[in-house]
Amino acid sequence: MTRTLRDLRPVRVVGVGLHPYQKPGDTPYTALGVHAVRAALADAGLAWVDIESAYTGTATTAMGMSRLMYRHLGATGIPMAQVENASASGSTAFRQACIDVAAGLVDIAIAVGVDKPLKIAMPQGPAGVRDLSGSRVAPFTHFALLANRYIYEYGATPEQLALVAVKNSRNGALNPHAQRQRARTLEEVLAPPLISGPLTRLQCCPVGEGAAAAIVASDDAIRRLRLDAARAVRVLSSASRSQTVYRGENFDAALTRETTKMALDDAGITPGDLDVVELHDAFTIEELLYIEAMGLAPAGQAAADLAEGQFDIGGRVAVSTSGGLLSMGHPIGPTGVGQICEITAQLRGEAGPRQHPGARTGLAHMVGVGAVCVVHVLSTSA
């Protein structure tokens, strides 16, 4: 008999920390990662010696990078491993940390996402896969094709698409850890340079460097170490799936629909229960597609709902309060862990000027090349 995360002992996020996402520079990844870990430890009121296992979400830096980073916190000999799952690397690292605690293997685990964009390589070449479009279809063109199909199918407008970036830039301007911290107007978002299809530069996420850390703990550890239980956020569910055969249906949306449903079912809630959502908005069209795939809006309705402000901070459900990948940035490994940091801050009521009122339940969603999808549901519930 299999069990869900909620059937096992409770797992709670007790500490989160970030290194700001930024343009690629000379900062060693070790400094990025340790900065985020120290911030998470301080947030939790823990010391490094309390951490019993570590997972590093990374995809673009180097192999075997964990120990070279964690040694700067004191070499305690704990198990550590890199987790590579494309854009979902950080989300998968967080899932592994949760599983460690839920299963009772450890009482406290940490997920750290850290990356520098040093070697971004797609798997098709080594896999021997060739097609007619080859390198002519970069990720932005993959999503430009989806954007034009969406516009054709539902009568949405390029302006409605661009409003996703307007909203997320407004949120990112309130986030000191965001790579893009400037609120943009619709005219600015629509302005050249054109990238592909209806997508302009500001409708594509920046890929930079940074780090994020999230510490999860059992109730035993929270009691034993006298952590602040009132600030601990329950991880209600963790769902992870990979692409199957969809016969022409958009696989990113289909995979999101399946994985989100699993996560919501495991958590025992419905889409209408969600207050805050962080999703994989690497390109504006993705936010609309995934909002619909998650069941937050009927098919073809997300653009209109967004234009009405339903996904704003203070709206029906706040989407990408951090600024999302479009404004907070997408340094790959850190991104999924950074979402957990944002949801945790929102559910604690500690998100400052970008706080969504009354946030009690949140969802974090990432897709990754392959394709894979990872979704977590967090809650203030016991």
């Binding site: 021997g128 896969v129 060739r130 097609d131 007619l132 479009s133 080859g134 390198s135 002519r136 279809v137 970069a138 932005f140 063109t141 430009a144 094709l145 989806l146 954007a147 034009n148 199909r149 516009i151 054709y152 340079p193 054109l194 990238i195 592909s196 299809g197 055969v245 016969r247 022409g248």
Partner: protein, 142 residues
């Protein structure tokens, strides 16, 4: 002499473009680009997979004009199309020329286009897709 841009995906000596895909004898699925290691649908091994000729015809599913491109095999802007082939697979391909969104849903077919001439004087050709009946399509190759 004609040489394919994408070796193994079509025969450049065919009169009209025909795509070389894979058919699974175990479950009947058709794939393009071809699969050689195993069937994505049922997991059958290579002994169940065979090459199959696929007509380069279908329905345009989406389009995008690419403005940013760092490769040197084609100059931006150029157009990419998503085509639901009559044989089943949904493919991405280069279009003979940019198409508006109102072309989505219309029938398209592949035409030979000379991408370049190599150092030996060979025509390096590839199929690019255009609306069926579009007189401009295929003007780049004979």
């Amino acid at each position: 002499m004609k040489v394919a841009v994408h070796r193994g995906l079509y025969d450049p000596d065919d009169g009209v473009p025909v795509l070389l895909g894979t058919r699974c004898d175990a479950c009947g699925s058709t794939f393009f680009p071809p699969l050689g290691v195993g069937c994505e649908v049922c997991g059958a091994g290579p002994d169940q997979l065979g090459s199959t000729a696929i007509a380069a015809t279908g329905v345009l599913h989406s389009v995008a004009t690419v403005h940013l491109y760092h490769g040197d095999d084609i100059a931006a802007p150029f157009a990419i199309g998503e085509v639901q082939l009559d044989a089943g697979p949904l493919i991405r391909c280069t279009l003979a020329e940019p198409l508006d969104l109102d072309a989505i849903g219309r029938r398209v077919e592949g035409h030979w286009v000379v991408a370049r001439v190599d150092a030996d004087g060979n025509e390096v050709i590839e199929p690019r897709f255009a609306l069926i009946g579009d007189a401009a399509a295929g003007a780049g190759a004979s």
